[in-house]
């Protein structure tokens, strides 16, 4: 296990932890998430709830697998994360292509409708998770200095936290409504 893989683990753990907390932490957040899936998913009413539950469960399981200091679990977690993010990417890309305006509830509340930015974000995350999995499989020699491991993990975790608020960060650099600046 090299330091890059530790970093990826930190990133995905933090991100999915925030995602799960955002979907089940607040009363009503989960049903709101379920409702946001309705226009996206090609399944009927009752199945949507099952899909929403499955998404949250898989996200939680990925967190757990990545925290455990056991290489097969880590690998399974990374591969699952890659697959999950790839599915998200495809589903959102389809919805954007169809022109549906669903609000992103990936991390609980959000004001932004799903758009190209989310497709790119999830695509990049999926590739990062994939590269992390590849790094674990091929196992290029990495040190195991506990200090460095902690630094790599924390770096990843901070990056994962930032990924969850990327919309807010982007909005900071957008101009205010035109009528305000006229």
């Amino acid at each position: 296990m090299n330091y890059f893989a530790y970093g990826v683990r930190g990133l995905l753990t933090a991100m999915f932890l925030i995602a799960v907390a955002g979907k089940v932490g607040r009363a009503g957040a989960f049903s709101a998430f379920t409702d946001s899936l309705r226009p996206l998913a090609a399944v009927s009413g009752s199945a949507v709830r099952a899909v929403a539950l499955a998404v949250v469960a898989v996200e939680g399981a990925v967190c757990l697998a990545l925290i455990l200091p056991y290489t097969p679990a880590t690998l399974a977690g990374l591969l699952t994360a890659t697959a999950l993010l790839a599915v998200f990417t495809v589903v959102i890309a389809r919805s954007v292509g169809r022109g549906t305006t669903v609000r992103c509830r990936c991390f609980g509340r959000s004001a932004a409708p799903l758009g190209r930015a989310h497709v790119i974000r999830n695509g990049l995350l999926a590739s990062v998770a994939g590269v992390g999995a590849a790094a674990v499989v091929t196992g290029p020699a990495g040190g195991s200095d506990p200090g460095m491991v902690a630094v790599a993990w924390c770096t990843g975790a901070v990056a994962g936290g930032l990924v969850t608020v990327v919309e807010d960060l982007v909005s900071l650099f957008r101009p205010v409504a035109p009528s305000m600046t006229e």
Binding site: R26, A27, G28, A29, S31, A32, D35, R103, R109, A111, G147, C154, V158, G161, L162, V165, D168, L169, S171, L172, V176, A177, P178, S179, M180
Partner: protein, 180 residues
């Protein structure tokens, strides 16, 4: 060496704390800042006046039924509320009582609850037994179509010969809203 390590850890913790605070500020800023051209000052919508025709709109209520202008019964009441506004919270029990007393059951009253779904839960729960309830985000399609940007707001409409006309603002709810 131990001192250096501890110092770096301390600085790291401080940075993360700063980052969290900054993100908190950004989130607050987005909550209060202009959410788009519709909410910029001086660009308010002119509310519908009695006598004007009700613009067409369609929505899906929380129980999955289609709601639209053509499906409104005669003398229907449309109420707009948001869980984020103090007067709306104060008026909610009054509206529930009023809607319950309306002849013609829950179809007679249409409540548009504006906000994030999780915020609206209580409003929806209390209203759905006496009215058709639609939940939509701020600046959503129904409010945009019916030119409502201040809450609470109410419209009483009359449908006659395929025209739907606004006949008034209900006094007991409108009293709270500032006269414009």
């Amino acid at each position: 060496m131990a001192a250096l390590t501890s110092a770096v850890v301390l600085v790291g913790i401080l940075c993360v704390l700063d980052l969290l605070l900054t993100i908190g500020v950004i989130k607050k800023l987005r909550e209060y800042g202009p959410a788009g051209p519709a909410r910029a000052p001086g660009r308010g919508m002119t509310p519908l006046r009695p006598g004007e025709e009700l613009p067409p709109f369609t929505a899906v209520s929380v129980d999955g039924a289609l709601v639209s202008r053509s499906l409104l019964p005669d003398e229907a009441l449309i109420a707009f509320l948001s869980p984020n506004c103090e007067p709306c919270r104060a008026k909610l029990p009054e509206l529930v009582a009023y809607a319950a007393a309306e002849p013609g059951g829950r179809d007679r009253t249409l409540a548009i609850v504006v906000g994030e779904p999780e915020e609206c839960e209580r409003f929806v729960r209390e209203l759905s037994s006496v009215a058709r309830v639609v939940v939509e985000p701020r600046g959503g399609p129904v409010c945009a179509a019916l030119r409502v940007d201040a809450f609470p707001a109410t419209l009483r409409v009359r449908s006659d010969r395929d025209r739907t006309v606004v006949t008034g603002h209900m006094v007991d709810l409108a009293r709270e809203a500032s006269p414009r």
